[in-house]
C-alpha cells in the first residue's frame, strides 16, 4: 500500500512493526510536497534536510526501544505561528519574515518528545487574522479539492496539507474557528480543545483569552492520539489547566447509546446553505440510528457572538501585537527619523491590511471613553453566552451543527467585504468565547464536490464525549459506504 494513504496512527504502527521506516515515511511526504506545492502553497517553510536527519535519528531510537508512542516517526506539519527552535517562524507576516526562534513552543516540544518528525511550517492568514488564508504575506493557499477555492482559515495551510497528503497530521490554532472551519472546507478532522488544555507557550499570541492549539487529522482516531500527546500542564503558560486524564484514545468506543444530542435551531436558520443543512442533519440521523437521543432546542444569543468576538479579539490583538516594533526581532523600516517614526514605519510597512484593520479597531475599543461601551459590553455579552451554553449542557452531552454556513468560497470572493467574511464565523466563535472544546468531522460534499463539515461542541473538559460521538459517526458513515 502507498505509504501516504496511512493515517498517522496506522503509520506509527507500521513503523513500530518494522514494515516502514521513519525515513521512508518522511521521504514520501517530501515527494508529495514537491509534487503539490506549486499548485497548493500549503507550506511557508519546508525543512527537507532537517526532517530527513530527524527521521533517521528517530528511527534509531525506535529500534532501540527508546521511542514507543503512537506518533513516533510520523511526519507532521506545524502552523507557522508556533515557534520552532532554529526554524524560521513568520506568522505569515512581512514583519516576522526573517525570525528564527531561540526556543520551541511547548506543543512542538511535546510532539518532538513523542518522536514526530516536523516537515515544515504551514501557511496561514497573517497573524491568524482571516478565514481564507488569503491574507498571508506568502500568497494564498488553495483547496486540494478544487484549487479555485480557498482552504478556509486561518489554519488553511495545515488543513490543506493534511487533505493533500503533504503530511500525516498537522497542528493548527483556533481563536474564532481557525482549526474547525478550514478542517470543514478541506474535508479533514479538526479539533479545538478546551481553553488551557494545550499550552500556548511559544504560540504567537492573537487573542490570548481565546487562542488554543489543536490537531488537524485524517480521522478521529488520529485526532485523539495527537491530542493525548500535545495536551499538557505547563507552568510557562499561566492559563494552562491541569487535567485529570490525558488518555483521549480511551474515548474511541463507537457507542453513543443514550447520549443526549442537542440541535440548536438557531444554527440551522437563515444564511445556511441548504445543502450544508441537509448533509449535517443526515449525519446526525446516523447517530440517532446508533441510539443517541436527538432533540432540537433554542441556544439563543447566537447573533451576538460575532460582534462580541471581534471586539475582544481585536482588543487583545492590539495589545499583543504592540511588541512588533522593529527593536528586538523581525522587520525594521529602512528610512525613519527618530524612535517613534521607526516604530510607526516598521509597523505600517510590516503589517498587512487586515492586521492593521484589527489593530485599529482594537485600539479604538480600548481607548478612554469607549472602553465601557465596547470592551466591557463585549465581556458582559461573553458572560451571557457562557451562561447560555451552561444551560444547554445541563440538558445535552453534545451540541451539533454545521462548522460554516457554506462550503469553501472561491479565491478573491471574501476579502472585499470584511463583515461578510466575519459572518462566516457564526457557528465557531462561541466555542472560543465560552472556552468550549469543538471538533469538525467531514460528513459529505456539495454538488461541486467541496467538503462539508459537521461541528460537535461539548462542555468544558468533555473532549472525550466529543471524540466518542465523532468516532461513532465516523464508524457509521464507513458502514454506510461499505453497504452501498
Amino acid at each position: 500500500m502507498d505509504i501516504l494513504k496511512y493515517t498517522a496512527v496506522e503509520l506509527g504502527k507500521k513503523i513500530k512493526a518494522g514494515q516502514v521506516t521513519a525515513m521512508q515515511a518522511c521521504q514520501a511526504a517530501l515527494d508529495r510536497i514537491e509534487e503539490k506545492e506549486s499548485t497548493l502553497n500549503c507550506y511557508i517553510t519546508v525543512d527537507k534536510e532537517g526532517a530527513l536527519a530527524r527521521a533517521a535519528s528517530v528511527q534509531e531510537q525506535i529500534e532501540k526501544g527508546a521511542l514507543a508512542g503512537p506518533l513516533a516517526g510520523v511526519p507532521v506539519a506545524v502552523k507557522d505561528n508556533m515557534n520552532t527552535k532554529g526554524m524560521r517562524t513568520t506568522c505569515a507576516s512581512h514583519i516576522l519574515d526573517n525570525f528564527v526562534p531561540a526556543f520551541s513552543a511547548e506543543a512542538v516540544c511535546n510532539l518532538e518528545k513523542a518522536g514526530a518528525v516536523i516537515l515544515g511550517k504551514t501557511n496561514m492568514d497573517e497573524f491568524a487574522m482571516g478565514s481564507t488564508t488569503e491574507t498571508s504575506y506568502f500568497g494564498a493557499t488553495r483547496n486540494p479539492h478544487d484549487p479555485a477555492h480557498v482552504p478556509g482559515g486561518s489554519s488553511g495551510g495545515s488543513a490543506a496539507a493534511v487533505a493533500a497528503e503533504e503530511c500525516f497530521f498537522a497542528l493548527g490554532s483556533d481563536t474564532g474557528g481557525s482549526i474547525r472551519q478550514p478542517a470543514s472546507f478541506c474535508g479533514v478532522v479538526g479539533m479545538k480543545p478546551t481553553y488551557g488544555t494545550v499550552s500556548r507557550y511559544g504560540l504567537i499570541a492573537y487573542g490570548s483569552s481565546l487562542d488554543q492549539i489543536g490537531p488537524l487529522c485524517r480521522d478521529v482516531t488520529d485526532c485523539a492520539a495527537v491530542l493525548s500527546v500535545i495536551a499538557s500542564y505547563d507552568n510557562k503558560d499561566a492559563t494552562s489547566i491541569k487535567r485529570e486524564d490525558y488518555d483521549f484514545m480511551s474515548a474511541l468506543t463507537d457507542d453513543v447509546k443514550g447520549m443526549r444530542i442537542g440541535i440548536p435551531k438557531d444554527y440551522f436558520g437563515d444564511g445556511l446553505d441548504p445543502v450544508v443543512k441537509e448533509t449535517v442533519l443526515a449525519a446526525v440521523e446516523l447517530l440517532r440510528e446508533k441510539g443517541a437521543l436527538v432533540e432540537e432546542f433554542e441556544l439563543s444569543l447566537v447573533e451576538y457572538a460575532i460582534p462580541a468576538y471581534y471586539v475582544i479579539a481585536c482588543a487583545e490583538a492590539s495589545s499583543n501585537l504592540a511588541r512588533f516594533d522593529g527593536v528586538k526581532y523581525g522587520y525594521r523600516a529602512k528610512e525613519y527619523e527618530g524612535l517613534h517614526q521607526m516604530y510607526k514605519r516598521t509597523r505600517s510597512e510590516g503589517f498587512g491590511a487586515e492586521v492593521k484593520r484589527r489593530i485599529m479597531l482594537g485600539s479604538f475599543v480600548l481607548s478612554s471613553g469607549y472602553y465601557d461601551a465596547y470592551y466591557l459590553k463585549a465581556l458582559r455579552t461573553k458572560a451571557l453566552i457562557k451562561k447560555a451554553f451552561d444551560k444547554a449542557f445541563g440538558a445535552y452531552d453534545v451540541i451539533i451543527g454545521p462548522a460554516a454556513p457554506t462550503t469553501a468560497p472561491k479565491l478573491g470572493e471574501s476579502l472585499t467585504d470584511p463583515i461578510q467574511m466575519y459572518l462566516g464565523d457564526i457557528y465557531t466563535v462561541s466555542a472560543n468565547l465560552a472556552g468550549l472544546p469543538g471538533i469538525t468531522v467531514p460528513c459529505g460534499k456539495d454538488e461541486k464536490g467541496l467538503p462539508i463539515g459537521m461541528q460537535l461542541l461539548g462542555d468544558c473538559f468533555q473532549e472525550k464525549k466529543l471524540l466518542r460521538a465523532a468516532y461513532a459517526y465516523e464508524c457509521a458513515a464507513k458502514e454506510r459506504r461499505e453497504r452501498s
Binding site: 507552568n235 509597523r347 451571557l384
Partner: protein, 97 residues
C-alpha cells in the same frame, strides 16, 4: 451609517496603534471602522445590566512560581534576530538628546 469616524479619531487611533496610515488608508479605515462599529452596536440590544464582565472563562488568578532558571544561555540565538546590534546590545535610534 450611524457611526461617523472623524479625521481626528483616525489620527488619534493611529497614535494609539503606532501606525502611520497613508491618506487612502485613512479614508478606508474610517469607512471600515464605521461599518464595524455599526455592526458591533447590535450588542446594545442586549440587557447586560448587572452582568459581570467575563475576561476569563475559568476563575484564574495570578499564577506564581519560583524564579528558577531552567533554560540555558540563549542570548546569542536571541540577539541573532536583532535588526541591528552592537556586540550584546540592540541598536535603536537616539532617544535622549
Amino acid at each position: 451609517m450611524a457611526n461617523i469616524i472623524s479625521d481626528e479619531t483616525i489620527e488619534y487611533v493611529g497614535i494609539l496603534a503606532k501606525l502611520e496610515l497613508s491618506g487612502e488608508e485613512k479614508e478606508q479605515a474610517k469607512k471600515d471602522m464605521g461599518r464595524m462599529l455599526d455592526y458591533i452596536d447590535q450588542l446594545n440590544e442586549l440587557d447586560t445590566e448587572g452582568v459581570e464582565p467575563m475576561s476569563h472563562v475559568f476563575p484564574v488568578q495570578n499564577v506564581f512560581r519560583e524564579d528558577i532558571v531552567t533554560n540555558g544561555d540563549d542570548h546569542e540565538a536571541v540577539l541573532e534576530n536583532a535588526p541591528e546590534r552592537r556586540e550584546d546590545s540592540y541598536v535603536v535610534p537616539m532617544t535622549v538628546i
